[in-house]
Amino acid sequence: MTALRVRDLSVRFDGAGGRSLTAVAGVDLDVPSGQVVGLVGESGSGKSTLARALVGLVPITGGSVELDGRPLDQRTKGRRRVQMVFQDPYASLDPRMTIGETVGEVVAAAGRVPRATRAAEVERLLELVALDPAHSRRLPRELSGGQRQRAAIARALAAQPDVLLADEITSALDVSVQGAILNLIRDLQRRLGLTVLFISHNLSVVRYVSDAVAVMYLGKIVETGPVDHVIADPQHPYTRMLLDAVPRLGAATRPGPAGADGDVADPHHPPTGCRFHPRCPVGPLVDPTRRLCVTESPDDGASRRRHRSACHFAEPAPASQLTKVAKQASEVG
């Protein structure tokens, strides 16, 4: 069963002077029920815009978002089924409201708990994220970064969401606190069966919390699959580049491959064909015969390649994935 199903989703921003920008360009993404899907990519890849579009903070230009087979409508009154935890817990909590008020407000808005037991519900939620319920009377500035992020998670859980979007939730925290927040997310996911879309630029973090991973580059998903498979056998050169860039203890800086010094292309003018080709270490930059990358989009036929890789030169998918694709196609058809 698929909890969150995104098909051909596009988000376009119309800038001044006709400079429109397609931040999300036809994304297909599945977040299966009870699983954590990691979404990795660099800044400018569109991963945060995708998350904001899923919760309705940014209008969708095209495509569909379904939750358990029904179109997701975040605008209806009552319970919002997709909730989001933001990157910076210093900005995502109202500085003038106590933690208890912030969480309680959402409990009230969700309307699932009778007024009399709301205080108890707030206490339960704070305990769920391992915050001392006594903190409910404190203002955000009296808490540490890690405690604030726990409070922000409690607020998201207060709406009793089916899907939780976690947008870079550890990148504003100190390293010694990051681990505790990651443990909490895994623990919550296991205990509550939460479905989570975990967005991060840090592959080691994504690897640690996710069951599956989707790699995003310039508004498109370029590779997706079970996290072990993708990391052990990356098919897209961009995934490989990301994996190489992860700093490791005990590994001196290695010389980079060709293209590694390139910048992310200007999203206002995405490159033709494969959007990664100006940086690609196996593309036309090093092998001039690979004109295909400049002229043809690798999106077509991605489902026939391993990890649905959007690379002309990725390996074909194993038989098991193909039958699954065929089955899904027949379900849709």
């Binding site: 660099e42 800044s43 919760v55 975040q74 009552g78 319970r79 919002r80 997709v82 909730q83 989001m84 933001f86 910076d88 900005a91 995502s92 109202d94 003038r96 407000e105 959402v106 808005a109 969700a110 540490s144 890690g146 607020r155 998201a156 709406a159 100190d174 390293v175 010694s176 990051q178 681990g179 505790a180 443990n183 895994r186 623990d187 630029h201 840090n202 592959l203 080691s204 973090v205 690897r207 640690y208 990391i231 580049m241 990301l242 190489d244 860039a245 992860v246 700093p247 490791r248 203890l249 005990g250 590994a251 001196a252 800086t253 010389p255 980079g256 590694a260 010094d261 910048d263 992310v264």
Partner: protein, 633 residues
């Protein structure tokens, strides 16, 4: 640090203090002048009509022989009171109008915004005069007129403030959770814009006072027998050539009141807009500590010698010392990493070493030498030139350290032109070659561009190129890659190493990421609660770190080999605040191996093995198991 109490901080500036004293005086007059001088102001004396200034009547008398000075003082209440009323009217109309777009839907909000835009564009004084004439002559209609004329700017102010709050993450989060719009406005938006709104509206009283006096002066405002400063100015002006004091008095009063309000506003704006930036006022790393401590000198002469360096910051609650007596050296061509969490003192250390501490922070040290020059001394021209050409600094956020209004080229060539007295053309050629050496494509074109036209990674390279304009012997890099993506981070670290190899420049790399340090540096200093708790070479860091904190730091960061089925190791508790650092080991409260001795007695940094020192009573000796597996795998 400014921020939380802008008013208190503003009152400490000379402008703010003066303005506040004047305002307090005005308020006193408004409250008590009618009671004290009221009788005198009303006293009709037909024997002394329209007199010039004299001992008895410093500002003369009016056409009924009343003392002008007394009337001037008494009129303070009327003048200020009407101005306050006018601002209240403006607030009552403007604030709800400005807050409306935040609650309305997208389309209705746009319409309201358009209305506000139009109203703001309409000249306020013209509108005031128009309303005053339509509503009839008199104080009431003048107040109404100025209130209505001021409403658009109050609306605009509210709208701008509300829009910034409405765009914040916490409002987004509340909206996501289905919190109704009305509640969003009342609970989230209004309380958070209250303070700046009240402040700005208070300052608007100054403007309203001027406008009110203007209307009264024109005869559209306060009518006889009532009087305010504007009306008195009107009366006095008729005989300004005979007895100027009668006109100068009220005129001066209006000017002083206006200046006081504007001065306070000016001081507040200054306090709010000055943030402690690296480019701020600097204080020298002066103040020697008495007894010089022995310094370990390696086989190479060090580029940087630091001995017993402390950084002090005076605060309202007393002085804190976030960096405490740390000693280290950086040898020629060496890359040394300083790793620690926020609050460990690592960045302050870098700033102190670079003579970049922003006031009121200051450093003390037994020795602080850069290429043999004493950094504690008063900055001479030689020292400045040495720092300008031999030391490069790379900050975390290149977006804020490059001047947005100057081209990249201008900022690069400035270094050589100022410190090396290089002709502009030559400096430009050098800039091109430096940009090329940091692998910025088409450097000639980039030189003509402004910082915002460069990507984050590109800007960071430009910063490094700027450092290379001189002949750097030491590059201080404070979290140079924390704001960047992993692939760009790798590029910048690679570049740093390349520069180090090519030019022999030493580097001091400050970061919170122990893996970044391990990949880039030769030697690592681990800082915790203002002290160096372990100093070790990178190989030892990966294989056999001794301090429990170093080990915990390594274990708490997931890497590509972390076991996904077991929880990550965490460090319980939080680091001590600089004001509450305990007597014993700073890490004892969070350490699994801590004993009574750790809590009572501070462990000194002592050598354990070649290339390793630790400040710990119970240093760990077993190798790191998980990590050695990962490295060999």
């Amino acid at each position: 640090m400014p921020g939380r109490r802008p008013l208190a901080a503003a009152l400490r500036t000379p402008t703010g203090a003066t303005a506040a004293v004047v305002l307090a005086g005005l308020l006193f007059l408004a409250a008590f002048a009618p009671a004290i001088w009221g009788a005198e102001a009303r006293h009709v004396d037909v024997a002394h009509l329209l007199e010039g200034s004299s001992g008895r009547h410093p500002l003369g008398t009016d056409n009924l022989g009343r003392d002008v000075l007394a009337r001037l003082l008494v009129a303070t209440r009327q003048s200020l009171g009407l101005a306050v009323l006018a601002v209240l009217v403006a607030t009552l109309i403007g604030v709800p109008l400005g807050a409306l777009p935040a609650v309305l839907g997208r389309r209705a909000g746009r319409i309201v915004n358009a209305v506000i835009d139009f109203a703001v564009a309409f000249p306020a004084l013209l509108l005031a005069i128009f309303v005053a004439i339509v509503a009839g002559v008199g104080a009431q209609s003048a107040v109404l007129a100025i209130g209505i004329a001021g409403a658009p700017s109050a609306a605009r102010l509210t709208q701008t403030l509300a829009a910034s709050i409405a765009g914040s993450d916490y409002v987004a989060a509340a909206r996501l959770a289905g919190v109704p719009r009305r509640r969003l406005l009342l609970r989230h938006v209004l309380p958070n814009i209250g303070e700046p709104l009240i402040l700005n509206l208070t300052l608007a009283v100054g403007g309203a006072l001027l406008a009110m006096s203007g209307l009264s002066f024109l005869g559209l405002g306060v009518q006889a027998p009532a009087y305010d400063w504007g009306r008195m100015l009107n009366e006095g002006l008729e005989r300004v050539y005979v007895s100027p004091a009668a006109a100068l008095g009220p005129g001066t009063a209006v000017v002083i009141a206006g200046l006081a309000f504007n001065g306070l506003g000016e001081a507040l704006a200054q306090v709010v807009s000055t943030r402690p930036v690296h480019g701020g006022r600097r204080r020298d790393a002066g103040h020697p500590v008495d007894e010089p401590a022995p310094v370990a000198v390696g086989d190479e002469a060090p580029v940087l010698t630091v001995s017993r360096l402390s950084v002090h910051i005076p605060t309202a609650a007393g002085e804190i010392t976030p960096v405490r007596e740390i000693s280290f050296t950086v040898s020629r061509g060496e890359i040394v990493g300083i790793v620690g969490e926020s609050g460990s003192g690592k960045s302050l250390t870098a700033m102190a070493v670079g003579r970049l501490l922003a006031a009121p922070a200051y450093a003390t040290a037994a020795r602080l030498e850069f290429l043999g020059a004493d950094l504690r001394a008063k900055p001479t021209r030689t020292l400045r030139r040495l720092l300008g050409t031999s030391r490069a600094v790379v900050f975390q956020d290149p977006a804020t350290t490059l001047n947005p209004s100057l081209t990249v080229g201008r900022q690069l060539t400035e270094v050589s032109e100022v410190h090396q007295r290089m002709p502009r053309r030559e400096a430009r050629l050098r800039a091109v070659s430096r940009l090329r050496s940091v692998r910025i494509p088409s450097p000639e074109r980039r030189l003509r561009q402004y910082p915002h036209q460069l990507s984050g990674g590109m800007r960071q390279r430009a910063m490094i190129a700027m450092g290379l304009m001189g002949e750097p012997q030491l590059i201080i890099a404070d979290e140079p890659t924390s704001a960047l993506d992993v692939t760009v981070q790798q590029q910048i670290l690679r570049l740093l190493r390349q520069v180090n190899e090519d030019t022999g420049a030493a580097a001091l790399l400050i970061t919170h990421d122990i893996a970044v340090v391990a990949e880039t540096c030769r030697r690592v200093l681990v800082m915790y609660a203002g002290r160096i708790v372990e100093e070790l070479d990178v190989r030892t860091l990966c294989e056999r770190p001794a301090h429990p904190y170093t080990r915990a730091l390594i274990a708490s960061v997931p890497d590509m080999a972390t076991d996904r089925d077991s929880p990550l190791a965490t460090i319980a508790g939080r680091p001590p605040q600089p004001a509450e650092i305990p007597d014993g080991c700073g890490f004892a409260a969070r350490c699994a191996f801590a004993t009574e001795r750790c809590r009572a007695e501070r462990p000194p940094l002592l050598p354990l093995a070649p290339g390793q020192s630790a400040a710990c009573w119970h240093p760990r000796t077993e190798p790191l198991p998980a990590l050695t597996d990962a490295v060999s795998a």
